[in-house]
């Protein structure tokens, strides 16, 4: 067994190179990741060569640090093959870490290739040794070295992947991980070396392509490696700088384009009130071409004379207070067009600090059309409200004034019937009968119509009202009808609400009246309850009457809509329309739930009152 020794200066050098190579690898991973297309492939190839050379030269410097008592030479084709193995391993590693994602599976496969490549490089390099000795390997240590190579590669890949986005070239984290990786590669190497034992041999080695390793070659390898690695790192740095600049340039061009194509006018102004920016829409909005306004006072260009003083004042006060009443909000003001006409604009002005200077960025929108539309809308709403009020007034006046002549018709036909019934012929009696009936029905209709229009035209003020009292009043007003039908009305606890007390009573009266009216053979059983629903109270009037089919749930609340003939159930069909009008005047909602033959429940909402006054 041949004894051997290490030159520790060279060992240290080998570790240094490993660290440097690792650092270059981490840096390169980032470049490969951010590059696209051909540049990416170029970075991958250059990176793989540089990193492979780094690992490879670490190995040979480590080999030179290893002293045997006999001369050692190297077979250079085999040495080249080992270099190729190192480069391929590096290529695999760079490829893996530059993928968009790295799962544990991909990381494992990558590290197998990378670790395997490094191990292959190491043992190929060992095989390149030409010496008069036999080389034996301890299998366990060989396996350990390969496992270490793979394990180290796994850690290295994870680290590289993690730090590839790091843009600062000299980050502490990157340095630490380079140290870890750089220390780990020699660990593998020296484990592999520990696995090798050399015993003297008399057989001459094949020296046909062998060359010796000297300090000169060490210096050469080291210099070339350092040069390549250094070049790569510097290039990566430059590339990063350039690509950042390109990005910034692109981003600024993009922003410029956004501003230019915006449908809002964009106007920039410096702290002296001079125009600095003027996009295409500004030209359209104000009529001034960009070239004619840049560098001019904004006030002179777009602000009407009478507002210029205020503008200048605002600028002056901003220089001390750093604030102003029109800043950082959407405001509407009057602007001046090149042609001299004024128009309304909506704008927002934001001060922007650049160094110690302030700029103002304003987005301006011509709102002439919008304002016109708004005014038009307001005018229409107003006209609609007026026409609505007129219509209500008309309904009231018409029905009120119609009452008078109708009373005449009704009274005199009734008088006719009274005086001449049976004294003329049978036809006359029948005709008079129809006239009396028609007049009477019309009187009811007009009376109901009048009540309907009175809901809004003659409504009382809305105030806290005891719903229970209102309901009981309604029941009292209906007592004869309830008595005739032999019905039962039970009133639960009802909360105070904000209502017109008279109308609330009328509402209950109509709904309870309906419940009595639309009864079947059973005795009416009517239950009135309420439950809270947020700020509202939901009232329910439940009966056991004839019920309503679902398709009529909406229709019954419309004016003059009836589901039954006058003969079956009397009425004008205004009762529920009136109910809805009352409920809606109070900001509530009315609806029905019902099953034909089983009864109906009318529900309505009304705002709850906190408490009753007085």
């Amino acid at each position: 067994m041949l004894s051997y020794s290490y030159d520790y200066r060279l060992v240290a050098l080998s570790v240094c190179i490993a660290v440097l190579a690792s650092y270059a690898a981490l840096d390169l991973a980032g470049r490969v990741n951010s590059a696209r297309g051909k540049t990416r492939l170029l970075w991958l190839v250059v990176g793989a060569i540089a990193m492979g050379m780094g690992i490879w030269s670490m190995h040979y410097i480590g080999m030179l640090a290893f002293h045997l008592p006999i001369p050692v030479q190297y077979d250079w084709p085999t040495v080249l093959v080992s270099l190729l193995a190192a480069i391929l391993a590096s290529a695999v590693a760079l490829f893996v870490v530059s993928r968009p994602a790295m799962g544990i599976g991909r990381a494992l496969v990558g590290s197998m290739f990378m670790g395997g490549g490094i191990a292959a490089m190491h043992y190929t390099g060992m095989a390149a040794m030409r010496l008069s000795a036999l080389c034996h390997y301890s299998p366990r240590l060989v396996v350990l070295s390969v496992v270490l190579a793979i394990g180290i590669s796994l850690v290295a890949l994870r680290l590289a992947f993690h730090f590839r986005e790091e843009t600062t070239p000299w980050s502490g984290k990157k340095l630490v991980s380079a140290l870890v990786m750089g220390a780990a590669i020699p660990v593998m190497h020296y484990t592999g070396m520990a696995a090798a034992h050399f015993s003297p041999s008399t057989i001459d080695a094949d020296m046909s392509y062998a060359i010796g390793a000297s300090y000169l070659s060490v210096t050469g390898i080291t210099s070339v490696t350092l040069l390549v690695l250094g070049l790569v790192v510097v290039t990566a740095l430059a590339d990063r700088r350039f690509s950042l600049q390109a990005l910034e340039l692109e981003s600024s061009r993009r922003h410029h384009q956004i501003v230019e194509t915006a449908l809002d006018a964009f106007v920039g102004m410096d702290s002296n009130g001079l125009i600095t920016d003027w996009n295409v829409q500004s030209e359209r909005t104000f009529g001034w071409p960009r070239a004619e306004v840049i560098g001019r006072l904004l006030a002179d260009v777009v602000i009407p004379q009478r507002f210029r003083e205020a503008h200048t004042q605002g600028l002056r006060s901003f220089s001390t207070t750093r604030d102003g009443p029109v800043l950082n909000q959407r405001i509407e003001i009057t602007a001046l067009h090149r042609s001299g006409h004024e128009f309304p604009v909506e704008l927002s002005i934001c001060p922007i600090q650049w160094g110690d200077k302030y700029h103002f960025a304003a987005f301006v929108r011509d709102v002439t059309e919008r304002n016109r539309a708004q005014q038009e809308l307001a005018r229409k709403v107003d006209a609609l409200a007026r026409s609505n009020a007129e219509l209500e007034q008309f309904a009231y006046v018409a029905s009120h004034d119609l009452q008078e002549p109708l009373r005449m018709v009704a009274s005199y036909t009734q008088l006719l019937a009274r005086r001449y019934k049976g004294r003329l012929d049978a036809d006359a009696d029948e005709f008079i009968g129809f006239a009396v009936d028609g007049a009477t029905r019309m009187q009811t209709l007009i009376h109901d119509l009048l009540s309907y229009s009175r809901v809004t035209t003659r409504g009382q003020s809305i105030a806290p009202t005891d719903a229970e009292v209102a309901c009981k009043n309604a029941v009292r007003n209906l007592r004869s009808a309830i008595g005739e039908a032999d019905g039962v009305v039970s009133v639960g606890a009802l909360p105070p609400v904000l209502a017109d007390a008279t109308q609330l009573t009328q509402l209950f009266q109509n709904l309870i009246g309906n419940a009595i009216k639309y009864r079947d053979h059973r005795k009416p059983d009517i239950r009135i309850n309420a439950k809270p629903d947020g700020e509202l109270a939901i009232f329910s009037i439940e009966d056991n009457g004839i019920g309503i089919e679902p398709q009529y749930f909406e229709r019954i609340f419309q004016m003059f809509q009836r589901l039954h003939t006058i003969k079956a159930y009397s009425g004008t069909g205004i009762g529920l329309a009136l109910c809805r009008k009352i409920v809606e005047r109070h900001g509530g909602r009315i609806w029905v739930e019902s099953r034909l033959g089983e009864g109906s429940t009318f529900l309505f909402t009304m705002p709850q009152a906190e408490r009753l006054e007085g």
């Binding site: 009452q403 008078e404 009373r407 005449m408 009704a410 009274s411 005199y412 009734q414 008088l415 009274r418 009187q443």
Partner: protein, 152 residues
Amino acid sequence: MTANRIEILLVEDNPGDARLTVEAFKEGRVINNLTVVSDGVEALAYLRRQGPYAEATTPDLILLDLNLPKMDGRQVLAEIKADECLMTIPVIVLTTSSSQDDIARAYGSHANCFITKPVDLDQFLRVVQTIETFWLSLVKLPSTRNGCERRN
């Protein structure tokens, strides 16, 4: 004209309403003489026997509508109740109005009663019958008018 006939003055501008009232009184039992004037100015002229009404009879009862042309019923009422010779004649306000305001003002002007005309004929007939029973049979009316000259 007989002495025991009851004289009624009806102030009503609507001929249909006037006739209806006349008809209603016709169905009554008390013999009466009902004169109709159609506006406030005419009513006062009649009561004060002015112009064409120099020969008019002072009524025992006045039925007064509120909404009248020329001078409305509210003013006629005020004039009657301010006139020493007329103030003792009972005035029944018979109108379609049911407004609280009208009611209060009428009593404030010393109307003797306020009746809203029912819409239905049967009810109207009953009201006229009640007026008849109460004012023309039940109550005692003064036979002299504060010493004012009274012609029958």
